[in-house]
Amino acid sequence: MARLWRGLRSRRVASYLLVYVTAFFGVATLVPWGGPESPEVMEWAAANPFAESVVRALGMHDPYTTPWFLVPALWLAASTCACAYERTVSALRVMRSQGSVKSGDLRSLEGADALHFRLPASGDADPLDRVAAVARSVGMRVRRGPVAIFGYSRSIGLLGSPVFHAAMGLLFVFATMGWLTRAEGGIALLRDRAKEDARASYLAGATTGLLFGDAYTGYELTVREVIENHIVDGVGRGSAARIEVRDDDRLVRSQLVYTNHPLRLGTTLIHHPKDRWGLAAVISVGDTGSVQAQTIEVPFERDPDAPLGHRPYLFTIEPSVGEAIDVSVTPDKAARLAILAGSRDRAIKSDAVIGEGESFVIPRGPRITVVELTRWAEVTVVRDWSVPFLYLMFILGTVGVTLTMYVPYRSLIARTARRADGDETVVSVVVRAQKNDPAFRLRVMEAFQNDGFERIG
């Protein structure tokens, strides 16, 4: 356990891990990400067959879930937290001991880092008072002992490093927890037709973290209006959708949603991805005995390259007896639907163009009715409670690093000793702020020299 703790708080190990994780980020950008079927991965694999075998074996097509990343990153996060703890203890110890000069401090005045000055005799004035005045002139608060003074600056800077490390450690913890519990997915909503925020409503299912479970809100989401190009302050923001959120009969929120303007429900954000909208239809399939009656909501994907501006929507009618019937529906420019139906054994083949309220019967098949022609819009629902905490940790981290950098803690110890001949006093000074304010020693030296002290070592 003691060895583990030593390993966690080792600054050298933390530095190596930071270098490793940074290098890993760079390496991870060199290969495309995705599953084996992803076009980018396939193209890369074909161009680099040898490298692909290594990359695949190392799992680098999904780099941030590999042990090569997760173990060092977790170690670094734990090390950062250990560092925060250790620095907090150390900062509190320094804050508590401010002003008390220990024998070790006095011994440091004999060390190589000490500055030595000579002060010619100047009447009855106590040389230590002059030394204290010099220390105050460089921004020190001074505590005076019988033979030495202790100068120290504002101690808030001591908290900078612990705050920064704690914030960075917690940032990692919150990001990981958020990742494990988040959910994100798109829902295609036809105008005025509500869908429940539940797993089944999501297009291709929602992407959820391992610990998300089934924590959907159950709210009803409805699109009330779809705007092709919403203009705000003269700038086209792309498509927009007025989204209504209801909890049973209670209206929770209603808002026009477009790029950079999501609807917020606590830590849940509802976006409308730009230009994810189109024509839609509600189609009913009649009961024939072997085919069950059903209503199908059809959101047509817009496609500028398609002859009628939208891709066909395909669905299959599965009768209890006989062959399945594949149906293709495409909207035309006259706001009617071109329907093409055919069984797989080619025994049934028919087509028709029908408008809203019209229907046609597939020979030896069911009646198809266009109940409604309308519009649809996609909404993306993202649930991630960790985001505000990440922002907070970032702000704390920034405050921490700012304190460390620009309000550094500095201290000095100075001792005076009268020479045996009694004519002059030797002042020895040790300055402590080398790491985060290396020029402070120089400023102290100049302050003494400007006050008539002569440097002798």
Partner: protein, 279 residues
């Protein structure tokens, strides 16, 4: 020609004169010419600020879209930082011989690019754009200043070792090594904080726009890499006690990674940020 472009052209000419003065001052050791170079840099900066502000008002968005706007803002920040250094210590005027011509070069390249105003698209229409770009430029400026100071530190370090260096007399006029070292550290710190804000503002913006604060886009990743590299510098310095030449070398070697994250990534990778450097 648009008025703001004419003014920017004027700033370019003034920077060219300032660069000439600063180079002459270095070669011939003329203090008066150096002062003239500093003053001309200040006049050029004021002129450039007018041009940027003029365009901002005309097109309705800050200098953040297209190579002309981004590069001219970078050169503005470069000269601004040079003058800040001079205000902090007059000895830094010698650094102008590197910074001002370099800024002139960037501004000259931007003058060759299209000056048409790119329309703000729906995804860019956010106040986070201005914050993101502003802090990005401040961060790059801070790191660039740290780089110049580190070069100066290392050159004088060599001179103090007894190794003959070019412009030795000039380097002598820089402030004490401790001050140069300290300022390098402070500029890296400022760059680190600003870059952190840049990354965070981008994350907030991405969350607003797409519902995800981090998407491992190459530009995001390389910004994080550059940030982590400077975090390593700060770690080495603050916890491992690296100072002086060793720390200066880390600053010098970090800049290419930063430059790649800014200029190389849009060339090498497909990135959602690719449009910002449109020529």
């Amino acid at each position: 020609m648009l008025p703001e472009v004419m003014i920017m052209f004027g700033a370019t000419v003034i920077y060219a004169l300032a660069s000439a003065c600063l180079v002459i001052a270095v070669v011939f050791g003329k203090a008066k010419v150096e002062r003239a170079g500093v003053w001309l840099s200040a006049i050029g900066l004021a002129t450039q600020v007018i041009s940027v502000a003029w365009r901002w008002i005309r097109v309705g968005h800050g200098p953040s879209l297209g190579f002309y706007e981004v590069a001219s803002l970078l050169s503005l920040i470069g000269v601004g930082l040079f003058l800040t250094l001079v205000l902090m210590h007059r000895g830094f005027a010698v650094a102008g011989v590197a910074i001002v011509p370099f800024s002139l070069l960037i501004l000259g390249a931007s003058m060759l690019a299209s000056k048409g105003a790119d329309a703000v698209s729906g995804s860019l229409a956010s106040f986070w754009l201005a914050i993101h770009v502003l802090f990005a430029n401040l961060a790059y400026g801070g790191y660039a200043a740290a780089f110049v100071l580190s070069i100066a530190f290392l050159m004088r370090d060599r001179a103090q070792d007894g190794t003959p260096v070019r412009f030795g007399k000039l380097i002598e006029r820089l402030p004490a090594q401790e001050i140069v070292d300290d300022l390098t550290f402070k500029f890296v710190g400022a760059g680190f904080i600003f870059q952190g804000i840049m990354i965070a503002s981008g994350a907030v913006w991405a969350n607003e726009a797409w519902g995800r604060y981090w998407g491992w886009d190459p530009m995001e990743t390389w910004s994080l890499i550059a940030w982590a590299v400077y975090a390593i510098y700060l770690h080495l310095r603050l916890t491992m006690g690296w100072r002086g030449a060793r720390a200066a070398w880390v600053t010098v070697l970090s800049l290419p990674i930063l430059v790649f994250s800014l200029l190389g990534v849009p060339v090498v990778y497909k990135s959602i940020h690719g449009a910002y450097l449109r020529w």
